[in-house]
Symmetry: C2
């Protein structure tokens, strides 16, 4: 069993520095290494441990060492019309590809009102919410979709054919913090099922199915041959809607970009290259209304939601992004919380590679 004692707090700056150092030692150019470190640490700051620095070695360092990932990738625009474009990720680190794409989308939005890129030949990019939120600094609405390895069964099937295919949208407000929705299109991530199994607990009906496609409350059945349900659960609670959303994310990210989709994600013909695809963009507010009025109206919207009558036993109504923002404030103050095993492995690798600054 895990306990709080297995975790230690570390200043975000220090972790960022060590992570970037490890990547530089693996042939990633300094500028790109800084981007990856920034996005990974951002996930840990927001409390999204599953997408943070715990992935540094298994997803990225091991991928580079095995020759599956191109550490010196140069993403490039392949074609474009107005603010819309296709980006080739050059099989690079998804964070580098994602940030380059979003920067280009923001430029496109300044010129055309909206910029959007379909990105192929990329890799796991961490949290979708990092990229959508980049638009906020420009007062724009941002969004980001990505496909991912198959873990979710479409309604009617018993096989994991769809990824948890996340979607994120960031919308600026006025005096209130922005709305930042960042969600997988499955009901829950596989990590939540794994935690339940480790604890010997049942899962709520609606999280996943066994190997015959029947809903189950046993996490071991979901992991051992079953699959996650899409958002909405089984058919009777409208899981076909989550399935439809997950399919749309895969089409825009994988089919439109000319990259992998469905079961070919992370299992393409070319062994190693994951073929992950993304779809992301930024949109100005002023083509639609006065940005000052929009900010004011967003504040009213948020105030009305927060002020809605509470259900019995509830303490407050949250807006998408609230929980992560609170954790981010806390973790900025106290340091990010990393599992000892995770940090020890990174620190060990860093000193092997001669990276400085490891405590």
């Amino acid at each position: 069993m895990e306990s709080r004692n297995d975790y230690r707090r570390l200043p975000a700056d220090e972790v960022r520095c060590v992570v970037a150092g490890v990547l530089e030692a693996c042939e990633v150019p300094a500028e790109d290494a800084a981007v990856v470190a920034e996005v990974l640490v951002c996930a840990d700051l927001r409390g999204i441990e599953s997408h943070g620095v715990s992935r540094l070695i298994p997803y990225y360092v091991d991928g580079i060492r095995a020759g599956h990932l191109n550490p010196r990738a140069r993403p490039s625009v392949q074609r474009s019309v107005g603010g819309l474009f296709a980006m080739d990720g050059d099989n690079g680190l998804g964070h580098v590809v994602g940030k380059a794409t979003m920067n280009r989308a923001i430029e496109g939005a300044w010129e055309h009102g909206i910029g959007m890129g379909a990105v192929g030949n990329s890799n796991h990019f961490g949290i979708a919410g990092y990229y959508s939120a980049m638009a906020l600094e420009h007062g724009m609405i941002g969004f980001c979709l990505s496909n991912s390895r198959p873990l979710v069964m479409p309604t009617g099937s018993r096989k994991a054919v769809l990824g948890t295919n996340p979607l994120s949208i960031a919308i600026p407000a006025g005096r209130h913090a922005p709305l930042l929705l960042d969600m997988a299109t499955s009901g829950v991530p596989i990590g939540k099922v794994e935690v339940k199994r480790r604890r010997g607990e049942k899962v709520p009906r609606g999280w996943g199915a066994d190997s015959s496609g029947r809903p189950t409350e046993d996490p071991a059945e979901i992991i051992g041959g079953g699959a996650l349900f899409p958002l909405g659960g089984p058919r009777e609670t409208a899981g076909y809607k989550g399935y439809g959303l997950g399919a749309v994310v895969d089409i825009l990210s994988g089919v439109l970009s000319g990259s992998s989709f469905l079961t070919s994600v992370l299992a393409g013909a070319d062994p190693g290259a994951s073929g992950v695809g993304h779809f992301m963009g930024a949109m100005r507010v002023d083509p639609f209304c006065d940005p000052g009025e929009f900010a004011e109206r967003m504040d009213w919207f948020i105030d009305e939601l927060r002020g809605a009558p509470l259900a019995v036993g509830e303490e407050e109504i949250l807006i998408a992004g609230d929980p992560e923002r609170r954790l981010e404030e806390e973790n900025h103050r106290l340091g990010i919380s990393l599992h000892r095993d995770v940090w020890n492995a990174i620190a060990e690798l860093a000193s092997e590679l001669g990276v400085e600054g490891v405590q």
Copy 2:
């Protein structure tokens, strides 16, 4: 209890003609009346009875007669940048406003790659899938969002503050029919709960909550003071994701367009005007990839989904839009199926108004 005998089949052309005639007799210009009739009959053809001609009298004729709806509205573009624009619906019939907006979006997409409009001061427009599908005739990807009257509780609340806020996306394929996702962001529509109550049946846990915000299986509690859950159900099955999606639909449709949002939809300061808002657009495929290759890849995508192993007891895996397209084919052949009370009321009103062609 309802039975099949309460329904009769009528040729779509005849119904379209009578519906248009009734609207023309209510001061709607012939061209606009034809649009409304077309969209309403399209819903019945697709089997979406709740958004079809059954709404003609209560939503539209009564609205015009009470002075709440402008029968001679002239939607107009208020501002624009590139292919993006704001549309004022002039408090007109939502179908007329929606079709005008989508036509403008398609023009914008031909010129700029993408066209999108935020629409305020509109009204109920029927099925969102009608508008998104307009893009398909141009080989484009279409989408359409709308807000609606409050029926859904945000996670943590016990009050219906959000609409069922539908979202639709239409994606062309090659030899296969297009994907057409058209879904409310609630788990189920209120109509499904009403049917269960009439039949004296329980509803699955996850459809809605009672007046204290607790999940209930009693449809009478959901209707009498409770509310629908967002897609995903209660918190434990990730209903906060459906809540987040519904909020985003409301922001793009209502906040960005300068129209009503949350509980002000259909209950604005101006008595009568609903202030419904929409957000819709069309996007070309060729800024991202070769359209022929895209069509081929969409066919692969659909083939792989349809070919996935079936869950026990299942007969096939459906793609979004399949059920409605099958009904549409059947109803084109056999005539659309209308409840006798619905048709009798329309036929009676039509003959009062001197509309020809009523059987």
